[in-house]
């Protein structure tokens, strides 16, 4: 690996993620037609390369005659919103608790670690479905559910890393230099674990996209008429023998988004780690 901070993983992964973000941002301009517009004459229309396709519906239409391409483009919005907002909030909560547990030790550490153990012993998907059932559906519930469930992912790693950093000589130097605990934590420890946190954030964003898709697949995300990738998959599953493309396209997009984020995370890991970079 070269010393360049930009390796091919970052370029490809980051490029795809940026493209998806742009699509989400400019969805109303990019979508050829209204994603909610129903046209029963176009019901289950095939994509462009098939014989009886309609040129205005490049990726075909679903069982209500809605344009698949426009719905895909608009559905990038909830996916990206959840990825960014839930990812960031999960990172903040998990990192804060991880730093506290790792640096303060004692009762605080025991308490937080115990909570992490209990949290992670329960499968996340099940927990998410239960939580959303409790707090009601909608994008904000999906975000709350992800944050409440997945903070442990950051907390565990940050705690372990903080413990490791606390042993380092530069911390001793800072203590000798008379820096207060809070200052040491934020000015010395945090910058050193930040690369790790950023790598975790990309992974968390891919998980958030999956969770959003899963919850909208089972009908627990945003209301069913506004398009989501998971909702489109659920609709496509019903008509899979007549129109496989209704399910295949959103599935492919989720796969691309998840792989791109993973690739970006891998690339960042090598780029930000001085040992691996060499």
């Amino acid at each position: 690996m070269t010393t360049a901070l930009l390796n091919w993983r970052i370029l490809v992964g980051g490029g795809i993620v940026a493209l998806l973000a742009l699509i989400a941002l400019f969805a109303p301009l990019l979508a050829p037609v209204d994603p909610l517009e129903q046209d029963l004459f176009l019901e289950l229309l095939p994509p462009w390369w098939q014989a009886d396709a309609d040129p205005t519906r490049a990726l075909g239409a679903d069982s209500l005659g809605r344009d698949v391409l426009s719905r895909l483009i608009h559905a990038a919005r909830p996916a990206l919103i959840v990825a960014v907002v839930a990812g960031t909030l999960t990172m903040l909560l998990g990192t804060a608790l991880g730093l506290m547990a790792g640096y303060m030790g004692g009762v605080v550490d025991t308490l937080i670690s115990r909570m992490v153990d209990i949290w992670t012993s329960f499968p996340a998907v099940l927990l998410a479905i239960m939580l959303v059932a409790l707090i009601g559906t909608g994008l904000h519930s999906v975000i709350i559910a992800i944050v409440l469930i997945d903070w442990t992912r950051f907390c565990r790693v940050v705690r372990a890393e903080t413990l490791a950093q606390a042993e380092m000589e530069y911390i001793d130097a800072a203590v000798t230099g008379g820096l207060r605990r809070g200052a040491i934590l934020f000015r010395e420890v945090l910058p050193n674990i930040l690369p790790l946190v950023i790598v975790l954030l990309t992974l968390e964003m891919s998980i958030a996209i999956i969770v959003e898709a899963v919850l909208s697949f089972v009908g627990l995300s945003v209301s069913s008429d506004s398009p989501t990738w998971g909702g489109m998959i659920a609709e496509g599953r019903q008509v899979i023998h007549q129109a496989w493309w209704v399910m295949a396209f959103p599935m492919g997009l989720i796969l691309i988004a998840v792989l791109a984020l993973n690739l970006l995370g891998d690339g960042l890991k090598t780029a930000l780690d001085p040992v691996l970079r060499r």
Partner: protein
């Protein structure tokens, strides 16, 4: 493993189960909506409501209510499902075998795939099969069971329609089963047509569940196998002239298996969690599919029963993992 350790571990499960029961109980209290009002017919008076409240013990304090509820739960009385109008315990127990069969089948599949991939990788260390396996493994680690399930449906249900994409059994074939464990029962009673049909139904959902787990097993097993391969006893086996395959299979793998085995146990709970979604995608009649329907219908008694059922599964599995770890690790055995 001595008896006191076993007993201690068993006793440790009780507070956990107690905690879950509290959560399940509180769950129903915080959900908006009055359960009594939902039971009464329209036109009921306030006096009717009060009578029903007393009848269900809802007039006492929250602690009293919990004690009543726990007493009923301990005798298996979880109430009646609102959407299905049947006894919750009966419903859950009726569906449970299907989920257990799916989860166990998937785990066996995951271990098989994981061990085979590891052995192939180690056999061809440094050559292209190892690189190929590593690449596939990296990809498999990133893709969740949800996507695998959908991809399998597209591949083997639509593009190459060779497998059924929903259900557990062809309804024309099997109705006369004594237990809920269809697969096991068909195997034991020698009904091979039925067995074949059951296998054709279970293979796709279980592969979807197995692949992510297989990837994790491969990664861990490969690392511990690489460590084992440089140990002295492997050197001795090499000096004796055993084949590479035999050294891996008979000597190194056994010692490398412990971390992977523990991991499989821990991951099994996640696999059970994964059944919720995979069952939904394949319309497989297990408790996971039922849980999603219960949540969609806001069927609180059923949700309560199902959460408790899942909790009991997870606690049992964690217990078994700890015990098997103690049995496998000689240092913990004494």
């Amino acid at each position: 493993m001595n008896r006191s350790m076993l007993l201690r571990r068993l006793l440790q499960a009780i507070p956990t189960l107690f905690g879950v029961s509290v959560v399940v109980f509180v769950l129903v209290r915080v959900v908006p909506g009055n359960p009594i009002a939902m039971m009464l017919p329209p036109g009921a008076t306030a006096a009717d409501m009060e009578r029903l409240r007393v009848a269900y013990g809802l007039d006492g304090s929250i602690v009293e209510q919990y004690v009543i509820w726990l007493g009923q739960a301990l005798t298996g009385a979880f109430g009646t499902s609102i959407s299905l109008r049947q006894d919750v315990l009966e419903l859950v127990l009726g569906r449970l075998p299907a989920t257990l069969e799916l989860a166990l089948f998937a785990t066996v599949l995951a271990v098989t795939i994981g061990v085979l991939a590891t052995m192939l990788g180690s056999l061809y260390r440094g050559r292209w099969p190892e690189t190929l396996i590593d690449t596939i493994n990296g990809f498999t680690l990133a893709v969740p069971d949800f996507i695998w399930a959908l991809a399998l449906i597209l591949l083997f249900g639509v593009v190459l329609p060779i497998l059924p994409i929903s259900g557990r059994i062809n309804p024309r074939l099997g109705t006369e089963f004594l237990t809920g464990f269809y697969l096991l029962e068909a195997l034991l009673t020698g009904r091979f047509t039925v067995l074949g049909d059951l296998l054709r139904h279970i293979i796709m959902p279980s592969i979807a569940l197995a692949l992510p787990l297989a990837a994790i097993i491969t990664r861990v097993l490969k690392n511990s196998l690489a460590e084992a391969m440089v140990q002295d006893y492997v050197m001795i086996a090499r000096v004796k002239g055993f084949s590479r395959w035999r050294i891996i299979w008979q000597e190194a793998l056994r010692n490398a298996a412990i971390p992977a085995l523990t991991l499989t146990g821990v991951q099994f709970t996640f696999l059970v969690g994964g059944t919720v979604l995979v069952e939904k995608i394949f319309s497989y009649p297990g408790i996971g599919n039922m849980a999603i329907d219960a949540v969609t219908n806001r069927d609180l008694p059923l949700i309560q029963g199902l959460i408790l059922c899942f909790a009991v599964i997870f606690i049992t599995v964690n217990l078994l993992v700890d015990l098997s770890y103690a049995l496998l690790n000689p240092r913990l055995r004494s």
